[in-house]
Symmetry: none
Subunit: 210 residues, 4 copies
DNA sequence: TATGAATGAGGCTTCATTCAT
DNA sequence: TATGAATGAAGCCTCATTCAT
């Protein structure tokens, strides 16, 4: 738990930046990125319009920053949920089971938060590499999903061939299929597609286990 | 080969529409959709600005029409190429081989036409369902990719469980991974990723073969 | 008297352009170029803001066009006044006298129209070369000051060495000195400076007469 | 040689002011006054934005101060050059010759420093009256161009009628014609115009010699 | 004295859309 | 059907200026 002290001015700057980010997120997910103006973001954040430009280049800069933050948060939550589950159950999960657990967590979350799903669109994999999330005065250090996965595999005594490609492929598969299925029911309903998706993921994982 | 006759007025209308579509495509792929204006599209097509509105609602209408057309074209070309290949070789391709052939055709094309890849973005699957392509005086009827695949499977005496989901999943997988890998070399170079992608596709296909 | 017929649309375009020019002129000379906005110009001309941009690049484009027009008008008036004077008097004016007449006309005009003087600043010589003034439906052809001067000299059987340089030098001299003297009374009052200026001009003219 | 002592605080203040002036000058002559912002001036001078306002009212205040300084410098250099020349040659220069020498010095300098020419625009005569130049720790007292000229005339036993007007007229003539000729080659090239300008100046000077 | 984060008014410009021809 | 002049809403972004530190 590394903690960084900040002085009053820097704290205020962080607050303004975070206010801008959360205002933008709310607007983007309700009225859409195209229909959101800088003026609206600034007004909602209770800062001047010029202040926006102290922290972000333009609307697309803040949009991208938010996608990174939000996708990262999803992975953080999923990892935390898996950890909690494992530590409260006696059941022993296989590596595939754990991936399915994570997948299930993510697609359940996205299916319940359509605005978020639309917003991150097909960019879930940004969360794999992204820069840190909202900064605050005292902040826990976040764990990277790949680091998390590697240590999990190590603990389980399993290794994955093509580790990076496997992770990436699965994340892209989850996101791109869910996007269409959840939003359009295309080519099939979400609940019907889910088992098929899980099956595909198990295929890919098991194939990668040395 | 059904052919449709058109009279001279309709032909002229078709020409204007096609001029608008191709002008828009050239602009979209060179300067980007956001930076393209209706005025530019109309000017490039040598029609009046008002004429644009006789054929399309707005910029996003023509953009979507073009994505459908272009992704559809890709599938048409891929199917034609496979047919040609099969009829000129004595080699007997398995069903998986044929899917790989199609996949290879598509990703090779996209990797050589970055502007097209960027333009269709992650919407390749639109080509599976889409409306007809550019219309012309005398036009062959186009074959739907799913129809094509089904008749192919039938000829080979093979059936796929979860046919729709399988096709859809593979197309999404191809597109979303290629988009990142080709454009960013992320998480690995295109040539390194290709065999892995092919392997995943074979896994999915073979698993679906009853 | 060449006259050019224009159709209704072109006439309307001319009217709008002229409205913009005269609105801009009024604003520039009352509140100043820096304090004038495109919005004000358009509103005063009763046209849409976008219409401004159909005719001019930006504020400085219309400012320059106006300087050319206004300086040209000054020369037109001065020439007309000299012609009138010559045709109503029996007095025979020398070449120097005629230049002094023109000079006097110009500086008198400028001293009575401070706003105009400030506006054209030290750019009087633009009127020597400039493009035509306000266009209208039926327009007399305008005479160029240099052409006017040359034919005048010819009629008087006089030729000037270094014709272009002489004209240019005198115009610059008139404008740059008047600007300071009239506006600041610097280094002397206008009425005291005038005879000195006339004397200098005679020196230059007489020196140039072959 | 009067010298003024300054204490350390005043020196530091002078340094900041000079840093602001030279930063502004560099920006004004490279990107133009309109395109220069207070922020840029302050940053280049390594002072805070607020500091700018401790020394200058606004951008136009510093611009005007700089024109005075720069035009004054030109006269200082020209006078120094003439003095040097006179003290190193046995040749006896007439009053006209000396004015031509000064003129030549100035126009040569301006023709070699287009940025400076554009910057002072047609305001060379500001240098005749202007406030002191850059201040520094120990500074020689500068001589006024008119004082210099008067003492020169006195030494040569010559007097000029209309002294102020003559000086002013010549300076305006030099500046306004050179501005167009050097920048636009209009109405003639600089090298062709130069002898004509010199001739005009001699005419005016000689006419003023009692 | 010096700073620079914050401001927000307001200019500029674009561009989709209309409608008279 | 086709046009393109005209519109003006709308958004972007800058930048001079202030003021708390």
């Amino acid at each position: 738990m590394k903690k960084i002290k900040m002085n009053k001015i820097d704290l205020n700057k962080e607050k303004k930046k975070n206010d801008l980010l959360s205002s933008a997120y709310e607007l983007f997910t309700t009225v859409g990125v195209e229909n959101t103006t800088i003026t609206q973001i600034a007004r909602k954040a209770n800062v001047g319009k010029g202040t926006f430009y102290l922290y972000f280049q333009d609307k697309y800069d803040i949009r991208n920053a938010l996608i990174s933050i939000k996708t990262n948060e999803i992975f953080q939550e999923a990892m935390k949920s898996l950890n909690d589950y494992c530590s409260h159950t006696s059941e022993k999960l296989s590596v595939s089971d754990k991936f399915i657990y994570i997948t299930d967590y993510i697609i359940t979350k996205l299916s319940k938060d359509i605005a978020l799903l639309k917003y991150i669109s097909k960019n879930l994999s940004w969360g794999l590499y992204s820069t840190p999330a909202f900064q605050s005065d005292e902040k826990e250090e976040l764990i990277d999903f790949k680091t998390f996965t590697m240590s999990m595999l190590e603990k389980d005594g399993v290794s994955l061939k093509n580790f990076d490609m496997t992770i990436f492929t699965i994340v892209e598969l989850i996101n791109s299929t869910c996007y269409n299925v959840i939003l359009n029911g295309d080519p099939i309903t979400f609940s019907d597609y889910k088992p098929y998706l899980f099956r595909c993921i198990r295929l890919i994982i098991n194939d990668s286990i040395a």
